[in-house]
Symmetry: C2
Subunit: 401 residues, 2 copies
Amino acid sequence: MTVTSPAGFAAAGVTCGLKKSGNKDLAIVQNLGPLKAAAAVFTSNRCKANPILWSQQVIADGVVDAIVLNSGGANCYTGPQGFQVTHSTAEAVAEALGTSAGDVLVCSTGIIGEQLPLEKLQLGVSLAAGELGQSRASALEGGMDAAEAIMTTDSKPKTVVIAGGGQGESVEAEAASAYSIGGMAKGAGMLAPGLATMLVVLTTDAQLTPAQLDTALRAATRVTFDRLDSDGCMSTNDQVTLMASGASGVVPDVAEFTDRLTEACASLALQLQADAEGASHDIAITVLSAASEDDAVAVGRSVARNNLFKAAIFGNDANWGRVLAAVGTTSAAFDPYNIDVSFNGVRVCQGGQPDQPRDLVDLSPRAVDIVIDLKSGPAQATIWTNDLTHDYVHENSAYSS
Amino acid sequence: MTVTSPAGFAAAGVTCGLKKSGNKDLAIVQNLGPLKAAAAVFTSNRCKANPILWSQQVIADGVVDAIVLNSGGANCYTGPQGFQVTHSTAEAVAEALGTSAGDVLVCSTGIIGEQLPLEKLQLGVSLAAGELGQSRASALEGGMDAAEAIMTTDSKPKTVVIAGGGQGESVEAEAASAYSIGGMAKGAGMLAPGLATMLVVLTTDAQLTPAQLDTALRAATRVTFDRLDSDGCMSTNDQVTLMASGASGVVPDVAEFTDRLTEACASLALQLQADAEGASHDIAITVLSAASEDDAVAVGRSVARNNLFKAAIFGNDANWGRVLAAVGTTSAAFDPYNIDVSFNGVRVCQGGQPDQPRDLVDLSPRAVDIVIDLKSGPAQATIWTNDLTHDYVHENSAYSS
């Protein structure tokens, strides 16, 4: 149930001293082939960390042998020296695994504006590479170690495995078309905005070209990670990487593969939401009957980023006026005085006027469903967010790991 | 030092039972003339409260006899019944003061989605109108009563008076050119986004046309209330009104009047910031060397709305990485790797790299100065905001007044 679930991958997670806690802080995921195809999507923040600048070059040819990830420091706003640290880390991995640095992706997460100690990274690479040759690395344990090593304020590792293909008229045909997708994630955020840096590594033993992987990855992230908006903040280090080993020998139907990949991304996204820093509610904001999907996303995102709304949910208050005040700041097509709003199935506003008493809404469960009906067209979208809590303020005012 | 400081105005603030607390909850400010010129600016939220819809019609001809303001309810998303309540309130004022409802502005503030009780409003209008004919109303007391009656979560009334004109070669000439501007405000927010509804009434005894007032008001609010961004939330009820009585007989230089009006607005804006719900820091974010003023505002606003940055300031943490991560989400012209950032005079980032240790920054004072140098042009702007605190979460999760 992690990056080593699909055939053709090994992974390791080790401690090299980047985290003061002594917890695991460096991971490598290696693609054992035979295929070395990959795709990646990166933060759209213009202030990109050094590992992002590096990885954007590496992914250009669609060939990746390994990815190295560290917690304990973002290596962002660290200038040429910081870029050199990223480069040297990739070189250390390449030397240890017998490949080229140009085929090694790098991800970092942690505080911005502090140099990463290269010696500790090199030690970590050495330790992790030593594990990669052992049986543990290609088993579940190696993948779980890696998922643990990329954690920062996460309370638990996030992993997933999805079975793909496996259809046919006989048992043999089913087996011959089966492949799998594995994954791990850290953070609570997204490619666009992010609570903290989000790093995701997805693996598959299916056979796909880099271009096919890229198309599938963009389609999957667009409706999953891109719709998770914990606090509207966009990280400098977000990266989602997909690597294919082809070890199953299965060439999947690309549409079916994209669906399975989307399932894997959705699972990881919801795990990130459930573990968002300090949150006490997981909120799904569904916008119905929008003129376009862009409109639906814009409206949902505006509500998701409204601190007054988020604080009200923390207080178990079905304050639908704050929902409409947020909707009103968008340029989406709608009639401000003909909107319906429901909280957990109770329609508190109909046609822009009070409907059911908001006291009827039970907001004590962690899951909150907000439905906004714009009555303006056929499109819809759901944005996932969290409430604004005392613990959020506490964790983010004290954060320095 | 309030709306009754300029000659030609009377004001009253009374209790009519809209607030459960029994505090004052309805105010009237009356223009006694001889001039009845006015201008107003309104929230840009598309979901506008009924008093906004009403007042936008009243202000169209630039003639206003009085403004009635209530706390204890926003009268927003209350449908045709709510609009009728606003209309009837204006009619009650018109009848009591012997004018036309079409010359009476209405403002409301409080919770959204609940009907205002018309009988209480009518009682309040009757009580306030009774006071307007008495000497207290045209003295400071009447203006202070009004400033108190519009408060919601404000901890104190906000008022201002600015002396204008008063220049000349003789004492007589100085006296003959003197006028004044008075004002009151409630809330902590702004015309664009707002922590809570912001209501402002400005008065002057200078002689100006409605068109001159409108131009001056837009110029003044653009660089004051529009740059106050406590929490990025935009109210449905924000309104800033400027009324001129002409009672001084002074026709001011319009540019000089605009400067004085801007001073008055800046004073009220900073009072709003200082009293923002739950805030423990008043933060001024100054963006220097931007390619345009729009760029400077966009960058400052992006930082001001970043919850991670705001929580860090609450924790007295000079986390400049969060500043740059917010800057990177804008489309302003700048080189992400050639930016300087200072916190309270300590340059913690130079050319996109660590400079002075952030431990040198003292964030214990309430006032925090962030300076971001984009090195991209001649423009600059300052955005005012607050930190994100436990008290903010508490007050806004428990808010129901």
